[in-house]
């Protein structure tokens, strides 16, 4: 009853083709954005901003990037953290070496740099497929991190490649409180998420999905594989690159190449699997789940240990955390292989009738 699209007639092409065709979706989105832009800054504490909300948005953006590549274009990649690293270091270098470059321009340039690197490492996808490609993308992961450590120019000659980001100057105003950083990240993420939502329903997006479903068939119906796949790599890396720049500038403030490890790539991959492969919203849900789970375990495990009087050492607690994390991933895949986005889909189906039985 609440979520019923019956009676919403479209009388113009514009109305028929809008991004969110169902009224309830539009209202929901506006409410959500209002909460995110107005409600959250009023209510949340500093800890929430800097430890949960900002990393959540940044990882959601990175997951979105990977989802474009893996979920829509079907190219499995294990190197997303490396592209984030490219973005972070590129943004740093643009700020450092180009006099007076505006912040947003440097982020865009960082994204474009990452896109260029992404195209380079996407080239093998024209020849190799599936897990061969996944392992090949590990080459990007290890090679890029190594380069950032070993070429001192990239980190302005700092030891072991650690960079401390410049001040965040936006239109002559310095952003230094968590709230301001949060709003900056949120605006960028919302803008890019809407962009992605639009992109995946365009010709490009449909071409990606055709390639994902079967690339030989796609090429038979006239989709050029090379530009399509490379564009997917470029767009995905662009998203990851911007996420990396935000990660360095708005979240940590100081990053080292080894921070962008294979573990982080896996984390991003987990986000899209748990959230839902091939779903924009899934990227957000997955990012929230994967980020909140360790925090939840951090709080819950010592509590349970105390409750049952178990003498856990801190080492044991960290082992149990890893164990539970792994077990939950497996459990989730078994229970809902299509991810949280699918659960949302089911919920919507139910809401269509609720509270009536038929």
């Amino acid at each position: 009853m609440l979520y019923r699209e019956a009676g919403q007639f479209k009388t113009s092409y514009a109305a028929d083709q809008q991004l969110f065709p169902i009224r309830q979706d539009r209202i929901g989105l506006i409410v959500l954005l209002a909460i995110a832009f107005l409600g959250v800054p009023l209510l949340a504490s500093e800890y929430w901003f800097s430890a949960i909300l900002i990393p959540f948005l940044i990882f959601a953006l990175a997951a979105l990037g990977l989802n474009i590549l893996t979920g829509y274009a079907g190219q499995l990649s294990l190197g997303s953290a490396a592209f984030m690293a490219v973005g972070a270091y590129a943004a740093y270098n643009f700020q450092l070496r180009v006099e007076g470059i505006p912040l947003l321009v440097s982020f865009i340039c960082a994204g474009l740099t990452a896109a260029g690197v992404g195209i380079l490492f996407g080239l093998p996808s024209l020849r190799i497929k599936g897990f061969y490609l996944a392992v090949a993308t590990l080459a990007a992961q290890f090679f890029i991190v190594w380069c950032l450590t070993k070429f001192p120019w990239l980190s302005n000659n700092s030891s072991s490649g650690v960079i401390s980001t410049q001040k965040l100057m936006l239109f002559g105003h310095e952003l230094n409180t968590p709230v301001e950083k949060y709003l900056l990240v949120l605006s960028i993420v919302v803008f890019m998420a809407l962009g992605a939502k639009n992109m995946v329903r365009s010709t490009t997006g449909r071409a990606w999905m055709a390639v994902r479903d079967m690339d030989v068939a796609a090429s038979v119906i006239g989709i050029k594989l090379m530009p399509t796949k490379l564009l997917a790599f470029a767009v995905s890396s662009f998203y990851c690159g911007v996420a990396g720049a935000l990660y360095a500038f708005c979240y940590l403030g100081s990053v080292e190449p080894d921070g962008f490890s294979l573990d982080m790539s896996f984390k991003i991959l987990f986000m899209i699997i748990i959230g839902g492969v091939g779903s924009i919203m899934g990227s957000f849900l997955g990012a929230a789940f994967i980020l909140l789970l360790p925090i939840f375990l951090d709080v819950a495990l010592p509590f349970f240990a105390e409750l049952f009087g178990l003498p856990f050492s801190s080492a044991t607690v960290s082992h149990i955390q890893i164990l539970v994390f792994g077990a939950l991933i497996m459990f989730f895949l078994i229970v809902e292989p299509h991810g949280l986005a699918r659960l949302w889909q089911i919920a919507k189906e139910k809401l269509r009738l609720w509270p009536f039985p038929h």
Binding site: T70, L76, P124, R127, I128, K129, G130, F131, Y132, A134, V135, A136, L138, A139, F142, F143, W146, K150, F151, P152, M214, D215, V216, A217, V220, L262, F266, L269, F270, I273, V277, A315, T316, H319, I320, Q321, I322, L323, V324, F325, G326, A327, L328, I329, M330, L333, I334, P337
Partner: protein
């Protein structure tokens, strides 16, 4: 030139160690189409359970038997409780499940057996063979040679097992075509349990070798990362491919580590050590551009 050969042989022998881990991947991939990322964690678990049981006072042989039992049970449990429930899911979901499994093992194993690094004594010393040192002035480790011998023995045993036993034939049938194997009455689920058991055994051998070499510690899980380029170079589905790939990767990696950084240093200045982290991957990648299915992988034909 002597130095070149010394590095080359050292590389080939360490390549055998990579091949040991890669074998476990190949076995499972061949039989069930699962890309088992947890193989490295299984190596860690195997080595840790040998050391752990020995710490409780058991002799080496008993520890190995117990560890073998643990690995087999673990493999069967994995098949039964995780992979069986994921049948017919896309390969990426299975792959993610094995990453979850890897996390699970990495949490479980040190909880049971302790996480501090320990040495594993197999009674083989890691010292140069005097005879070769005297005659050719080359340092070839005794341990590496033994490891190579063990690996060859393992591969030969597996080859015989696959070729001449009833179970081996069933395994090959399943690897060829699940549906056909099922329709002629091969119990698919038992076969998968066996494959996971065998993979556990391979992990045990690899774990003991690597553990004796580098000490039993968390870093053993990274052996998986060493095995992956071997795997794509040799082809996911080929046992000989894993061996040949291992040799190529091992040798070229060691040679590159010696000869490339000085060149780069001349070009750019600075220190360029540590290229063995990415070099095998880039090598394998370049190789794949020529042969997309690896050296011995099955040729993939796309049909619409």
């Amino acid at each position: 030139m002597n130095f070149f050969f010394e590095v080359l042989i050292g590389g080939l022998l360490s390549g055998v160690m990579y091949a040991l881990v890669a074998l476990g991947f190949v076995l499972i991939y061949k039989a069930s189409g699962v890309f088992n990322f947890a193989q490295g964690a299984m190596v860690y678990l195997a080595a840790l359970s040998v050391v752990g049981v020995m710490e409780w006072g058991a002799p080496l042989w008993l520890a190995v038997i117990l560890a073998f039992t643990i690995m087999t049970l673990f493999g069967i449990a994995t098949e039964k409780f995780v992979l069986r429930k994921l049948v017919n899911q896309p390969p990426i979901a299975l792959f993610m499940a094995t990453i979850g499994l890897a996390f699970f093992i990495e949490g479980l194993a040190p909880m049971v057996f302790g996480s501090e690094p320990r040495a594993l004594e197999l009674g083989i010393v890691d010292e140069p063979i005097p005879w070769i040192l005297d005659n050719w002035n080359m340092v070839i480790s005794k341990f590496d040679l033994v490891a190579a011998g063990v690996a060859s023995l393992l591969v030969a045993t597996l080859a015989l097992f696959f070729q001449y036993t009833r179970i081996g034939r069933a395994l090959r049938a399943v690897a060829d075509d699940h549906q056909a194997a099922l329709s002629i009455g091969i119990p698919l689920q038992n076969i998968w349990a066996i494959v996971w058991g065998v993979a556990g055994f391979v992990a045990l051998v690899a774990g003991m070798m690597w553990g004796a070499r580098n000490g039993v510690q968390f870093a053993l899980t990274f052996t998986a990362l060493k095995a992956l380029p071997v795997l794509i170079l040799g082809g996911f589905t080929s046992v000989p491919g894993a061996i040949v790939g291992g040799l190529i990767i091992g040798a070229s990696e060691k040679l590159a580590e010696i000869y490339i950084p000085p060149v780069m240093q001349d070009l750019f200045g600075g220190n360029f050590g540590g290229i063995e982290g990415w070099f095998p991957y880039v090598l394998a990648l370049l190789f794949l551009l020529v042969r997309p299915e690896g050296l011995f992988g099955e040729r993939h034909i796309d049909r619409v």
